[in-house]
């Protein structure tokens, strides 16, 4: 049976039946944000099992000004011969620093069209942060340790995050509007295209269930013992 794809879902509209939770909110805020709701997304595989570390992005359908990049650098560490976290999601324009917490040297690179870069052999002190300007997926590798694979998902969405161990992601402050919700996972096969759906958020909590198409690949993070050769 083909799993129910999010693409099959039409625009989901939920009527407001709950009382406004933000009664005391200062009305000087933008009108659009006076109404809104909790948006939660449950990411599942074809067998209804939760998918952790999936990237959820929520983009307003109407044109919105570019979001300011996060000014503090994000961190993609290397520990026990694995990228930590295995998947990092950042807003376009964000700088990412790549420390090395292992005792062995690493040599991080990406040849993904989204961002090509190489960080020469290093241990401990990281190179200068790498700025990820363009939305897309960046696949990371280490030229010394063949098994190391990591992903940086660069987005210009206003709301984004990763699903937890229960496959859940939620945002408390999504203002009422039309949105496109996209879910991407490093475990997607083939072209690894995100699953998308459109929703209309009003004043009621909105819980979405999105199914990733099978077959899903194995989870990415695999720690290794540096004393064991990878062959």
């Amino acid at each position: 049976m083909r799993p129910r794809s999010a693409l099959d879902m039409t625009e989901a509209t939920i009527r407001n039946r709950a009382a406004l939770r933000a009664v005391g909110t200062v009305m000087a805020f933008a009108v659009a944000s006076a109404h809104g709701a909790v948006l939660s997304v449950s990411v599942l595989d074809g067998r209804n099992q939760p998918v952790a570390d999936a990237v959820v992005t929520v983009t307003a359908s109407s044109a919105t000004p570019l979001q300011a990049p996060i000014t503090t650098p994000q961190v993609m560490d290397q520990l026990n011969l694995a990228f930590v976290p295995g998947v990092l999601v950042v807003r376009a324009g964000t700088a990412v620093v790549f420390p090395n917490s292992d005792t062995v040297a690493h040599q991080v690179y990406s040849f993904s069209p989204t961002k090509r870069f190489e960080l020469g052999l290093y241990r401990g002190h990281p190179h200068q942060p790498v700025v990820f300007d363009h939305p897309g997926v960046v696949v990371l590798g280490c030229n010394i340790h063949d098994n190391m694979v990591g992903y940086i998902f660069v987005t210009d969405a206003k709301y984004f995050g990763k699903s937890d161990q229960d496959g859940m992601w939620r945002d408390d402050v999504v203002p009422a509007a039309h949105y496109e919700v996209a879910v991407w996972s490093a475990r997607l096969s083939g072209k690894m295209e995100a699953v998308r759906t459109r929703v209309y958020v009003q004043d009621t909590p909105l819980a979405l269930e999105l199914h990733l198409p099978e077959p899903l690949r194995a989870a990415v993070t695999q720690e290794r013992n540096p004393r064991v050769r990878y062959y």
């Binding site: 040297a105 696949v139 590798g141 010394i144 194995a218 004393r227 062959y231």
Partner: protein
């Protein structure tokens, strides 16, 4: 000897880079061993036809060994790796020697293809067991018969190029790759297998030393040394590998040293040795590892009208290994089958082996430095060469090793 010159060059290069300490990674261990042997045969390591590395005259507390891997970067994409071993056993020619020394060039990948080139002395990619420091098995103390032989005779000096298509960048769960190598300076490969048969142990033959010769004409050729290029003909190997989910490996290799069996050398002649090897390793999520490897080939020596050799023997072996790892504990059991049969010239020298081996090993990794291990090994079967010196061909040999290892 050019062989030695290359090794020295690589060692020197690695030492030069060792000056910049931050760029060299050192890993090694030192062993203290207790050994008990139940066998009437002197060990091959002492010139006998026993297939264990120890014998009645060499048991009790053994000083074991010291192994050091030095791995350093020479340039951004070129690394040097040297494995040094020190053994205090009385049969070793050199107390300190080198088992592998090579340069490795890994250009930054520009696509999903990952290229790797090795130049120097190294083992062809056959073993799925020998993943530890110093090319030691991580599953047991003794390697299987197949991988013991790779360590004894099959290291070569040459150039190897491999290309792997990395699936993670293509949304695929598997990597596929191919490897090809050309090499020389190992023309006697096969002589030990032909004369002594398959054995099981952890002693890789060092580059500047040799292994004791089972059958010798004089006191001048006590050791088989492998660094010679006798016929001037390079050998080659080629293989493919697939890796699924970064855990499960399938590997196939064809090896042919292209030796000219008619060419005589100073101590050893050129042998023509070929084999096909296949192996698979499965790492299940429950920390259970299964390995199967098989090898089949032939080896030939001596002039003949058809050029194939005066003495020819076919050989084959396989093993199955299961290893279960739970926290600090690892338990391994392995069954080996070995077979050799002369197919030409048996009236001059009859090489014949039909044997099996059981290995049971347990190790306890106390912390990052201390490991204790115990291994029981039993080899049972016939070796026809024993009859040449008046011994029964059949023998059952048993060995118990207890090891205390400090790693750094």
């Amino acid at each position: 000897m050019r062989f030695a010159a290359i090794a020295l060059l690589i060692s020197a290069a690695a030492t030069a880079s060792a000056a910049d300490v931050s760029r060299v990674e050192l890993r090694g261990f030192i062993d203290l061993r207790g050994v008990a042997v139940d066998s009437s045969l002197p060990s091959f390591a002492n010139g006998g036809l026993g297939l264990l590395p120890f014998d009645d005259a060499h048991e009790g507390v053994q000083s074991g060994r010291f192994v050091l891997d030095a791995d350093g970067s020479l340039t951004e994409t070129v690394r040097a790796q040297v494995t040094t071993i020190a053994t205090v056993a009385d049969d070793e020619q050199n107390p300190i020697d080198v088992t592998e020394a090579f340069l490795e060039w890994r250009p930054y990948p520009q696509s999903h293809w990952r290229w790797r080139t090795r130049l120097g002395a190294f083992y062809p990619p056959v073993s799925l067991e020998n993943r530890g420091v110093g090319w030691q098995s991580i599953y047991s103390l003794s390697a299987s018969a197949i991988n013991t032989w790779i360590g004894e005779e099959v290291r070569s000096v040459g150039l190897e190029v491999s290309a792997t298509s990395v699936g993670a960048t293509l949304g695929r769960d598997f990597d596929v790759g191919a490897v090809a190598g050309v090499y020389g300076w190992n023309d006697p490969v096969g002589v030990l297998l032909f004369q002594r048969g398959w054995a099981l142990h952890d002693r890789a033959t060092p580059m500047f030393g040799g292994v004791r010769r089972p059958f010798r004409m004089s006191d001048h050729d006590r050791y088989i040394e492998y660094g010679d290029e006798i016929d001037g003909r390079p050998g080659y190997y080629g293989g493919v590998e697939a890796k699924w989910q970064g855990r499960h490996v399938l590997r196939i290799l064809h090896y042919d040293n292209c030796g000219d069996p008619a060419r005589e050398g100073y101590a050893d002649d050129a042998w023509r040795t070929r084999f096909d090897a296949i192996g698979a390793r499965i790492e299940l999520p429950s920390d259970l590892t299964l390995i199967a490897q098989a090898m089949q080939g032939d080896t030939a020596v001596g002039p003949s009208a058809d050029g194939r050799g005066m003495l020819i023997a076919d050989y084959r072996a396989w093993f199955l290994l299961g290893s279960y790892s739970l926290a600090k504990h690892r338990m391994t059991i392995r069954h080996d089958r070995m077979h050799i049969a002369s197919t030409r010239g048996a009236e001059r020298f009859d090489s014949g082996q039909r044997a099996n081996a059981w290995t049971a090993a347990y190790s306890y990794e106390h912390d990052a430095h201390w490991l204790a291990a115990v291994e029981w090994l039993r080899i049972n079967g016939s070796l026809r060469q024993r009859e040449l010196i008046g011994l029964p061909a059949m023998a059952t040999e048993r060995q118990l090793q207890v090891v205390l290892r400090y790693s750094f």
